[in-house]
Symmetry: C2
Subunit: 330 residues, 2 copies
């Protein structure tokens, strides 16, 4: 493995001087400027050329790198990646994935990013990309896929959600689709990949993060509420540390839907977090990820074709289809 | 305070025989039948007359009771209440409130129920009802209100959300509106009342519940991972019990938007939970809750009127308005 490091040459060289082993695998690409963390995407686009972020993404387009990794400004990385690499899907913006811990492992949850208004086609695109990502990142041969919806029968979801459900159930897209799932299925691990629009995804992911943060704070308060609980805490500490590690958010996520691999590391990434982001980029680059997405994307137009009149309950808004177990006939 | 108990007379009378004090405050209204927990709302509507649930709601319409409390089938309670009491707002279904614990107290979060497709008017109606509810239930004189949206500037929410934000900011509705909030503000307590559509609300509430359940399970696993952590747990147990109580969901919620007070108790409600549901109904009935909602609802048509051309940035989809602190001029 070899690395191109984009940034200020003197700073990078000084850092590398302490790590001669790493230095042998590195080529420095000097960049005069950087994109600031608070820069607006439009601004980043105008003055992005010549920045380290721009250089890293451009190296992917030029075939000099198989993937770009950045822990910088998310909006700028989206915008620059979209301009330089172009979208392979019909999305406004790349989809952002969250990896949520569950008792079984990890749920791939998307879009938690920026695609606010999603029609059925976009939801199916998320399903295709999320499934390929989950296989590449976690080595699951045939990940299961669910579509996020509300619970009760009477009030089954938006029209887009019902239409996407119809398309996915028909089986023209090669996915192990399991039907609708609910909000609490994300952490239950009922399916490997949970698909939703960027509005619902962003809000429910932040709601979960907030709930976890609040619980941690309350837990700390409980443990420090007296001498005896504190003693209890000290005894349980090593076990609780593992608990906290398990609960901490994953440090890296791909921007899905681009012609090329771009991984976004968490803004406050530690060295270890950044190593995980690089590992994720490597896993994706070594997998069949991009080809698999392309293959299923080509099936989309046929799958989206209007159903025969007899099948049209799902698309006329009158009734929601029942959740079908995998392989059920329509 | 007096109670009408609707249900099987012999069962109720047998129960009351053990509680002579309570029996003096109770009048039994015999009902031959009950709505089953798994009955579909449409079914409940057809064969609802003569059931205990129907009788309880009807007593509110007839002025015999100031509020109805039920821990039965939610969908049936919605449907029957809507038919008998009628909606005071222009909603398809009553809005359902969740009360979420925060470091400051409780966030009133709505709609977590059944209103899936919400235009700006409905979101404003939720704000009006949620604010009046929060004051009545928690004694906060002037609750603050926020509208749930995604984070980054570039991708600020659906058109309906932006339009509702405009209406609420203009100040024609008498609310302490604080602008947009994000998913993690629900448990942070940034505002007293968080407003969203029933799709996003239902999913994000269940996502939070799932996250909390998962964390509790992992915590249990950490504590039972060996002798020493278990000893730690035993020492901290009383403090952790308080933690768990604080995290447990509230046992009752009103159905908002009806001409009359209906409180839904949790399906698995204990006696204590049910007492809390009754207390909530009493608090609402004793407050100015219904009159306050009516007053603000009358302001709605004027507030919804189209803005002047110069103000129209929010409604043409071109740009999202900035979040204004309370009292800021437009």
């Amino acid at each position: 493995m070899r690395f191109l490091l984009h940034g200020d040459e003197t700073v990078i060289a000084a850092g590398l001087a302490k790590h001669p082993e790493a230095a042998r695998r590195v080529e420095i690409r000097h960049a005069e400027r950087v994109i600031a963390m608070d820069e607006k995407p439009a601004q980043a686009l105008r003055r992005g050329k010549g920045t380290s972020m721009w250089g890293a993404v451009e190296a992917v387009r030029e075939g000099q790198a198989v993937a770009a990794v950045s822990a910088g400004n998310t909006g700028a990385l989206w915008t620059i990646s979209r301009l330089i690499l172009r979208m392979c899907a019909d999305l406004e913006r790349p989809a952002l994935v969250a990896s949520i811990p569950t008792p079984r492992g990890v749920t791939t949850f998307l879009d938690v990013g920026a695609n606010i208004d999603c029609d059925a086609e976009r939801l199916v695109e998320f399903a295709i990309m999320g499934e390929a990502f989950h296989r590449a990142a976690h080595g699951v041969p045939k990940p299961t896929v669910g579509l996020l919806n509300v619970g009760s029968e009477e009030m089954k979801g938006h029209e887009e959600v019902r239409e996407a459900n119809r398309v996915l159930r028909e089986g023209k897209i090669d996915l192990d689709y399991r039907g609708f799932v609910e909000g609490d299925d994300i952490t239950r691990g009922s399916v490997d990949v949970v698909v939703t629009d960027g509005f619902t995804g962003n809000i429910s992911m932040k709601a979960m993060e907030g709930a976890a943060r609040f619980m941690n704070a309350e837990l700390r308060a409980a443990f420090t509420s007296g001498l005896i609980p504190t003693l209890g805490y000290l005894l349980a500490r090593p076990a609780l540390r593992k608990f906290r590690e398990r609960m901490s958010p994953t440090p890296a996520a791909p921007l899905l839907g681009l012609n090329g691999i771009v991984v976004k590391g968490h803004g406050g990434a530690s060295a270890q977090d950044f190593a995980k982001a690089i590992q994720l980029a490597v896993d994706l680059a070594r997998s069949d990820f991009s080809a698999e997405i392309e293959r299923n994307m080509r099936r989309l137009p046929d799958a989206l074709a209007e159903p025969l009149p007899g099948d049209s309950a799902a698309s006329n808004g009158a009734a929601a289809p029942d959740v079908a177990p995998q392989g059920a006939d329509e």
